[in-house]
Structure formats: C-alpha cells, structure tokens
Amino acid sequence: MTANTVTLSRSSVVAGLAAAALFFWLVLQLPERDALGRSLPLSMLLGGAFGVLLQRSRFCFYCIARDFFERRDPRGLLGIVVALAVGLLGTYAIFGAWMPVPSATRLPAEAHIGPVSWVLALGALVFGIGMTVSGSCISAHLYRLGEGSPTAPFALVGAAAGFALGFLSWNDLYLRAVQEAPVIWLPRFLGYGGSLALQLGVLALVALLLMRHRAPVEAAATSLFDAVFRRRWPAYFGGALVGALATVAYLRVGPLGVTAELGSWSRTAADGLGLLPKRLAGLDTFAGCATALKEALLSRNGVFVGGLILGALAAALVAGQFQPRLPTARDVVRGLAGGVLLGWGAMVALGCTVGVLLSGIFAGAASGWVFAIFCLLGVWLSSLAARRLFAAR
C-alpha cells in the first residue's frame, strides 16, 4: 500500500488517539502487581509497545517468509535476524548479572529453554502449516485483530480449540518423548562467550546469504509523519526494537510470549467441561509459555496480549490501515482450520514464533533454533503444496 492510495483521514487519526487514550486509561486501572510481584501496568505498557512495533513494521512471520519464498525479498527475514542478534545480546547481558557463571544444574530464571525432541519439531512443523493455512502466526493474528482482520478472530478461536487438542494429546507425547528429551542450554556447553559467538556467527552467515538477494526499491517517504505513522517501518528497525523490548521485558516482567493466556483460557475451559485428563504430566515443570489453569482474572500475559491488540489498533487507525470487512466463508474456514493447527503446534512445542523462536533463541536455547528451522520448513512445504494444488485446478 503506497502513500498515494491512502488519503490521510483526520477521523481515523482521532480514532487512533482515542484508542491510545483507552489503552492508557486501562493501564491506570490495573492492580499494581500480580501474585509474583510483577508489575501488571508495565506488562501492559510493554504489550502496547509490542503491538505498535508489530503493526508498524509488519512483523508477521508468515508474510516475511512468503516474501522471501515467493519473491526473494529478504528484508523481513533480515529484520528477524536483527531482532535475534539484539535480543541475544540483551538477554545475555541479563544472564551475566543473574548467573555470572552458567550453572550445570540450574537454568536462568524463567528463560524459555525447552525440551528438544521430535515432538518439538513436529509441533513447529504443524505450526508452520497452520501459518500458511490461516495466513499468519498467532502474534500476527493478534496485531491484525487491531487492523480489523476478518480471519484473525476465527484463527484465534481455532487456536484455542487446537490448544485443547494439544492438551488431549499431551500425556501420550510426554511419555513417548518429551519426558526424556534433553533441555539444551547452549551456554552450559560453550560458555556465554562461546555460545554467543556461535549464534551470532550463524546469524551473520544467514544475513550474508540473504543479502545476496536484492531488496525491491520503495518510493521515499513524503514527510517524517508519513515515515513514522503511515509507511511500514524498515524491517531491520522493527527487528532491533523487538530485540530491545524483549530485553526489558525479560528483566522486568518475563520473556516475551503471546500464547500463555490463550492456552490458559483454553485449558481452564476444557478442564471446566471435563474434557481434559486429571493431570497433564510434567507440563507445569517446563519453562515456556506455561498454560496454568486460571486463578486470577488478570495475568501478566493477559494484560500484555490485551495491550498488544490495543497498541496495534491505535497504530493501524492512525496509519489508515484499520480496514475491517465482513468475513467470507473462506476467511472463516481458513481461520478456524489454520488456527487449530497453530494451537496444537504451539501447545506441544510449549510456545509459538514469539515464545519459542524469539525468546528461546534469545536465551541460547537449542529448542528455539529447532522451532525456527521446522516452522520455516512447514511454511515452505505447505506454500509449495498450496501452489501446486491451485495450479492444478
């Protein structure tokens, strides 16, 4: 969408400011802390900032992957590489303060370092397929809710159902593989310096390979207002801010993640309906997007996600990118079906592109890298299959 096709509408800017005002009003209504002493208002503020970042830089893992697979446009993937590099550096700085020497027995508090097994790979693959089917990953569906997307609400409902299916299959998968799967934290084997050098080296290599593809040239912004509030931010800029935001979030509230609240609602509902087994073996012992039964109405992930949606809404309104339309049957089917795949994948992988891919790699977790590889593989294979299917018609 270029600047010429959208005329700046004063009313949409006013609506955007109203959404921002509602956001800050809600922040002020929140209780100061949750049960663990984390600041709920801060969590919501970070969520709002994350929503603005995602919306303004179109930080949508599926769109980014498709841009590259279909048009060899490397910019979005380079943005993710920048996010990973900045987040890694920031998270490692915190690790150095909290745990000066990487412990052989303990993991840094709450860092999303998960078990590595074929269940993780399968979950990531299915998640990637769900991205193709529904047109987004979960975080992007959340920010697109703020853009008035007709698919996003169905994808999120589907994801909640997918979570419930994930819970149903959990005990079996846990005993088959997850229980004995190694939880691999790279600093434990290579030290902080070694593991940082290795991961930054891999990111640099990926960046170099991506840079061989030339980015399409876009028309320059017409004004500073246009550049900040209307046009998409450069992906590397959005990526750097995501990495910085993740660092602050980990220091003050917890690692970035967007599925814990959705999973909690799903688990509480399914449990309330008597659908779930009495116990989900070992589930609550892993760090990651924990999906505990709901105890308090307001959780830090809940207010984070609420903030994300409102932040994205405000940014989309000001940009003139809030364009709701009535869902078609296709939107509903794609959303629901893709959402189920997203939810199941995110449940068995203990998180999604944000909670496992970003937060995992930031923390030097092998699980983050495994998720990244298999999720991209899922997107690539399913996109290929979809093109063949439609080409055959």
């Binding site: 663990l36 303990r106 709450e110 039964l293």
Partner: protein, 306 residues
C-alpha cells in the same frame, strides 16, 4: 526503685547496642536493622523464595539465592540437604564461622523459616530471620538489586545433624497413641485439619487420607503473624498457643502438609518462646499415607482413588 530503673536503662542500652531492641526475639532482625547493616562484611543475607524469578528481578542487595527444592532438600530421596552439600553452599555464599546469617523469602518467610530450621539442625550459628520477610521489605520500598554478587568463599564448618530438632513418624505416632507426652500442633487450615479437603486449593492431593493426627491442636500458621507479616509479640504468641494447651511444659511437634509452613511456627515456638519443639517434615503427606496409623477425620471425606 532507683536501682531497678538504672538496671532497665542499662538493659535498654545493651539491647540498643546489639541492635535488636524492638524485636520479640534476638533470632529476628527488623528490615530497618538489615538496611543499616547491609554493608557489614559479617552479615550474610540469604533469600529462600519459592516463586521462580523473584530473586533475580530484585533482592536485598548482596543477598545470595538458595533454591528450596534443590539446594535445601535432597532432590532424589525425601530428605533435607546433606551436611556436605549445605556446607559447600554456605561457604560459596561467603558464610564464615563468625558470620551473622539473615534469612528472608517470599510467601511470609515460609521457606526461609524452613532454611532456618535446616541451618539449626546442622549447627549454623547466628541465624536470624528478617521479620516480615520480602513482603515487608518491598512494602517499605527499600532498595532491591538484580545483580548477583560473587562472594569470597567462607570457612563455616557444620556440625552433624542434630536429631533433636526433627520429628520422625515414630515420634508422631507415639504422641498419637499417648505413649509420649509430646503435644502436636497442626498449622494447616481448619478445612484441612477437619478433613473437609486433603490439600489446599490449587495443590495436588498427595495424601490419600483426610484429617489430622489424634491429639493435635489446630493453630493455623497465620495466627502467629501480624498484618504486616511480622511475628506477633512474644506475649501475644504465648497467649495464642497457651489457649490451645501449648505452654512449653511438654515437648511440642509441629507439622503441616510438607513441613515448610510448620517451620514458620517451629521458629516462633523455639526462637521466640524458647519451647522444646521438633518440626515433623514428613508432615501430612507422610502420616496421611502411612498404613495403619490412627487418624481423626471429622468431616469424613473419603478418598476415592483418583
């Protein structure tokens, strides 16, 4: 008259010098005292909290983190940490033979009190509990740090475990069967005590029988603390337990579900009132699962195998 006044003044001066003037017991330190003495190299502060990430995001400056499940308990068999492991842990935390160790933690010092009990078993000297714990320190908006400082290794040497502080199933059974004069204090909620529920809300039922040990009196742990989380005065505590027949004239055994909240009451009874008390760390999860032991189950809840 005049003489007693001089005596009182001298006593007040002495306690002010030591610095525990306003305390119910010299086993407690106030948040104010700790804030003033943080830079004293002889004072070592240790946090024992149960919630993850609490210590890392802000602790009393200079404090070291001990993790209850892995540092203070044996991770394989059900037991407290071994002497060697605890000694290494304390030395790594910079604890010397002449150090003053101040313990504190979240959830009203439950796990910090467990730490104090374990330290006492191994003869660690000069162990204090921060009165009011993390809750009061935070409520007073005192400084918090998220830096973990490496301590200079200490030289503390531990004694062999002192069995006199720890009750075993046989001790509890002897009391239940009136073969000993030890009195039992069950510090769980009245609903657990009466057998309406087996475990508190949100906690998995690890015992397959409901109720309490015959002869036990129910004084929930929270009855021993004031609104701000500090222990009540010695006089109030004395009256509280005396009303239930616990007056220090006979030995006492405290228990709860897994032995950690009862450490809190153990601390009050031993360190503030000076009674002879053992903590039963097997608690209801051991007793309520034991075959053939007598149980009082007022509510009559029956475990149905799920």
């Amino acid at each position: 008259m005049k003489f007693s006044r001089i005596l009182a003044a001298a006593a007040a001066g002495a306690t002010a010098f030591v610095g525990f003037g306003a305390q119910a017991s010299d086993a407690l330190v106030t948040t104010e005292w700790l804030a003033k003495n943080l830079n004293d190299p002889k004072v070592r502060v240790i946090e024992v909290s149960v919630n993850p990430g609490v210590f890392e995001r802000g602790h009393v400056p200079g404090a070291t983190n001990f993790v209850w499940h892995t540092d203070l308990a044996d991770p394989v068999r059900r037991d407290i940490v071994s002497k060697d492991n605890l000694q290494k842990l304390l030395r790594d935390a910079g604890v010397n033979q002449d150090s003053t160790v101040v313990l504190y933690g979240d959830t009203n010092n439950w796990f910090a009190a467990w730490g104090a009990w374990v330290f006492d078993i191994y003869g660690v000297k000069n162990v204090k509990l921060l009165d009011g714990g993390r809750k009061k320190w935070e409520a007073e908006k005192r400084d918090l740090s998220s830096q973990v400082a490496a301590a200079k290794p200490g030289n503390v040497t531990l004694a062999d475990a002192n069995p006199a502080l720890r009750a075993r199933l046989v001790d509890v059974l002897a009391s239940a069967e009136k073969k000993s004069n030890a009195k039992l204090v069950d510090i769980r909620s009245p609903d657990e005590f009466n057998g309406k529920i087996i475990a508190p809300a949100g906690i998995q039922e690890l015992a397959i029988r409901a109720g309490h040990v015959p002869g036990a009196v129910n004084v929930p742990w929270g009855a021993a603390v004031a609104e701000d989380g500090t222990f009540k005065s010695a006089a109030d505590l004395k009256a509280l337990y005396a009303a239930k027949g616990i007056d220090g004239s006979t030995p006492v055994i405290t228990y709860c579900r897994i032995g950690e909240r009862s450490s809190h009451t153990w601390f009050a009874l031993v360190k503030i009132l000076g009674y002879d008390v053992k903590n039963y760390d097997g608690s209801w999860t051991e007793y309520g699962n034991s075959v053939g032991v007598p149980i009082v189950n007022v509510a009559g809840t029956v475990w149905t195998g799920k």
